[in-house]
């Protein structure tokens, strides 16, 4: 429940044992390698091994691509909720079968490429057939362009140019020409003109005025019908080939698992190769450097004792903290909040882990915003099923846990607000027994009738939340020896806060007592402290601007921050109201025409659809707004982010996972 303490590892190992060591370390999964420091002596004597990382990378992506292609041609049939297959470390480190898998991947890729090219060829042939359509009635070979004395012109004119018009135009140029109309469609008229050789140029000039477009068929021999028939034949043979290639890929689908395993094996090799790239070597010895969590040092020691190596672990000096990778150690409850920290940014090394601080507030706020027994039960059920069936790890595990805890909080808050799918118990009871005086489920407070209370309650929770952040910030400052910082930055705010609370109690509850003066005095002291604190590090006129800046920022910042918590009330109310309207609409048919099969069916349909939508929207909406309260308002008070995630050398395949 803290940031894991890291130690810097320096390691020298006999070069012949390097690969074996990396294989042992990937199984252990707790060492992250980094670049060697610059200050190593005699750096000029050290070399890097030739890297095979690039080659491995391209092989790995070829395998992944092949699996994706397989998935596209033959979708895999697997149960909806299934956890990935588990294998042991030996299986993943075994590199046999790689060549087979690579050639399999190549076959699949080639077949896919051929299928694509066939697609292009097919559309070309189809275009040819399309362009031949108007010329099918012409039984003259298309590649004849004339005789010794005559020329053949093929072309089209817009349909509005009639054959008579064309005839007239031709007659004006020459008498030694003949026009044949081949066909016509909605847009154009397709014509064949035979004329004397000498008249061709003049004729073309005259025809251009009538928008005549000449057409030629390069590379085609025989009549249009013959050409079209040839293309149709090509099309069908292409289709047969495509089908054959497709069948070839489909036949390989049974070897999908083999490909997947090979891809994950390569991924492990790639990870080891990348770690190995960071090492420097002499002829006999490899030098490596990295990070290991302090709690794993013993395990590492027993592993390294089996190798010819020299090594040391040391705590990083504070100056190196920005380089230290960060890993959070969580228990079952706080692990759920990794969802939030991973998405935002990890804390810097040497600061606090926000998860345990955030967990109670995040879950409570989520519950308040959803606040419905029915929705809570749905969330718990979904989370439990997913945890059992998917056996999630890492990010998905955090998600399922968060869903579970959020569900529990939602159900608990639902009990307090008396919401079960909004107000369905009340509606149903009153439907079946109109004379009933039952007021609905018991509730401590209801967002609808006590909306003011809920609004102020939300803001009080907000104050608590923000103050927790400030306490953390103050404690951290004191720990780091900055007592003055804690006194002058957090101190004045607390004095003002206590003053403001006293004033509020005084005004609302017991007016006109001595409290009034104490409160005012506290407020004044607080503001003075704030002014002094802000100006203490500035010089000259800077003191004044810093002081006014502090007043302005504190006033607007706190005002905005606290008001922001009103979203808790807003979401709580909105979810309930929308649900209630769906319930009312769902029950209307039954109210209007009595309870029977049809009205009950209508009830079920409207109820299920409406609540499914409301549920989905609230599930996401509450998460986003809870997130905002944590990341913006809460983290703003104390969090220093920017930690680099700890990425140890370990198995990280896409398809199978290693047994724990």
């Amino acid at each position: 429940m803290a940031i894991l303490k890291m130690k810097r590892l320096r390691l020298m190992v006999a070069r012949s044992q390097k690969d074996e060591l990396l294989r042992a370390l990937i199984r252990l999964g707790c060492v992250q390698f980094s670049e060697l420091e610059e200050d190593v002596q005699h750096l000029e004597l050290l070399h890097r091994d030739e890297s095979e990382t690039l080659a491995l990378k391209s092989e790995h992506s070829a395998l992944i691509h092949a699996v994706e292609l397989l998935d596209r041609y033959v979708s895999e049939k697997k149960p909806l909720l299934a956890s990935p297959e588990e294998v042991d470390g030996d299986t993943l480190l075994d590199s046999s079968g790689k060549a087979d898998a690579l050639s399999l991947a190549e076959t699949i890729r080639d077949a896919d490429e051929r299928i694509r090219r066939i697609g292009a060829e097919e559309s070309r042939e189809r275009a040819v057939i399309e362009s031949l359509q108007p010329w099918l009635p012409l039984d003259m070979p298309l590649d004849i362009d004339g005789t010794e004395r005559s020329r053949v012109l093929l072309g089209s004119v817009p349909v509005k140019v009639t054959a008579d018009k064309l005839d007239d135009a031709i007659a004006q140029v020459t008498e030694e020409a003949e026009l044949f109309e081949v066909s016509a469609d909605k847009k154009a008229r397709y014509v064949l003109i035979i004329c004397a050789k000498e008249a061709v140029a003049d004729l073309q000039e005259a025809l251009r005025v009538l928008d005549f477009t000449a057409q030629s068929f390069p590379g085609m021999s025989g009549s249009a019908k013959q050409c079209a028939a040839r293309s149709t034949q090509t099309l069908s043979s292409l289709a047969r080939e495509k089908e054959a290639k497709r069948a070839e890929i489909e036949a390989l689908a049974s070897r999908r698992d083999e490909l997947k395993l090979a891809a994950d094996r390569l991924e492990a090799q790639l990870a080891m190769s990348q770690a190995g790239d960071l090492a420097l070597r002499t002829d006999e010895v490899c030098l490596m450097q990295g990070w290991v969590p302090a709690e794993k040092e013993a395990a590492l020691e027993s592993l390294l004792s089996g190798f010819d190596c020299a090594w040391e672990c040391e705590d990083p000096p504070e100056a190196d903290y920005p380089e230290v990778p960060v890993s959070l150690k969580n228990n079952k409850l706080t692990n759920a909040l990794n969802m939030v920290t991973d998405m935002y940014s990890l804390p810097a090394y040497g600061t606090v882990d926000p998860n345990p601080l955030m967990a109670p507030f995040f879950i409570l706020f989520y519950g308040l915003m959803m606040a419905d027994i029915g929705y809570g039960i749905l969330m718990i059920a979904a989370a439990l099923v997913a945890l059992k069936k998917l056996k999630p790890r890492g990010g998905s595990l955090a998600f399922c846990q968060l869903l579970l805890y959020g569900g529990i909080a939602t159900a608990a808050m639902g009990v307090l607000t008396g919401g079960f799918f909004s107000d369905i118990p009340y509606q149903l009871v009153h439907l079946f027994n109109p004379d009933s005086t039952w007021p609905g489920l018991w509730h401590l407070f209801s967002p609808e009738s006590d909306s003011e209370l809920v609004l102020y309650g939300s803001m009080v929770l907000g104050l608590l939340h923000l103050n927790t952040g400030m306490v953390v910030s103050a404690v951290q400052k004191v720990k780091n020896g900055d007592k003055a910082g804690a006194l002058w930055e957090e101190g004045p705010l607390w004095v003002i806060l206590v003053g403001a609370l006293l004033l509020a109690t005084d005004l609302l509850l017991v007016p006109g007592t001595v409290l009034h003066y104490i409160a005012l005095a506290l407020l004044v002291i607080g503001v003075v402290m704030l002014l002094f604190g802000a100006g203490r590090n500035a010089k000259g006129f800077g003191k004044v601007t810093a002081a006014f800046g502090a007043i302005y920022n504190t006033a607007t910042g706190w005002f905005g921050d606290v008001l922001s918590y009103s979203r808790i009330m807003a979401l709580m109310l909105a979810g309930g109201v929308v649900g209630k309207v769906f319930n009312t609409v769902a029950i209307m048919p039954a109210q209007a025409s009595g309870v029977n099969v049809f009205t009950m069916l209508a009830f079920v349909i409207i109820f299920v659809l409406g609540h499914a939508m409301n549920f989905a929207l609230n599930l996401l909406g509450c998460y986003v707004h809870d997130l905002r309260l944590q990341c913006l308002e809460f983290f703003g008070k104390f969090y220093s982010d920017g930690g680099k995630p700890f990425r140890p050398l370990k198995f990280g395949g896409k398809y199978v996972r290693v047994k724990e």
Partner: protein, 159 residues
């Protein structure tokens, strides 16, 4: 005032309910429309993403629903007494309906644009599409606030 009296409070109240539903629904239609257009382009390239496109498309649809919720509550409130409603009461209902009518109309369109842009995320970085969804939900909050403002005002009107 004389003129308003000739119209009557009932008609005014119905006018309020009508704009709540109509404007918010127009906004949602426009919002889902913008997203749908962008989504259709993606689905034509990659039909397997149609499920996620649909989720993004329905997000700007909620404003119409909120508008309908307020319409429904306003309608239930006045339906029994349309003939006897005073002009003042009628105008109260119109005022109560305004937030979701205007807020729903504009926020749905704004959200539609975000959702349409999120289709790009889905196309280029499919693993990160949920981040686009989160951006859409940020816009949603203002529609929720409008819904609440309308709801609280409607609740406060005595008829």
């Amino acid at each position: 005032m004389e003129f308003l009296n000739t119209i009557g409070g009932g008609a005014l109240a119905l006018l309020g309910a009508a704009i709540a539903a109509a404007l918010a629904c127009v906004g949602s239609a426009k919002g889902t429309g913008i997203t749908g257009e962008a989504g259709a382009g993606l689905v034509s390239e990659d039909p397997s993403k149609s499920g996620k496109v649909m989720i993004l498309q329905v997000i700007p649809g909620t404003q119409g629903l909120y508008g309908f919720v307020i319409f429904f509550l306003a309608y239930l409130k006045v339906s029994g007494s349309i003939a006897t409603l005073s002009v003042a009461q009628g105008l109260q209902v119109v005022s109560a309906c305004l937030p979701i009518a205007i807020g729903g109309l504009l926020s749905a369109i704004a959200q539609g644009k975000v959702a349409a842009a999120s289709i790009n995320i889905l196309a280029k970085k499919p693993d990160d599409w949920s981040k686009g969804m989160i951006m859409c939900i940020v816009v949603e909050f203002y529609a929720i606030l409008c819904l609440l403002a309308s709801f609280l005002m409607l609740n406060a009107i005595a008829i």
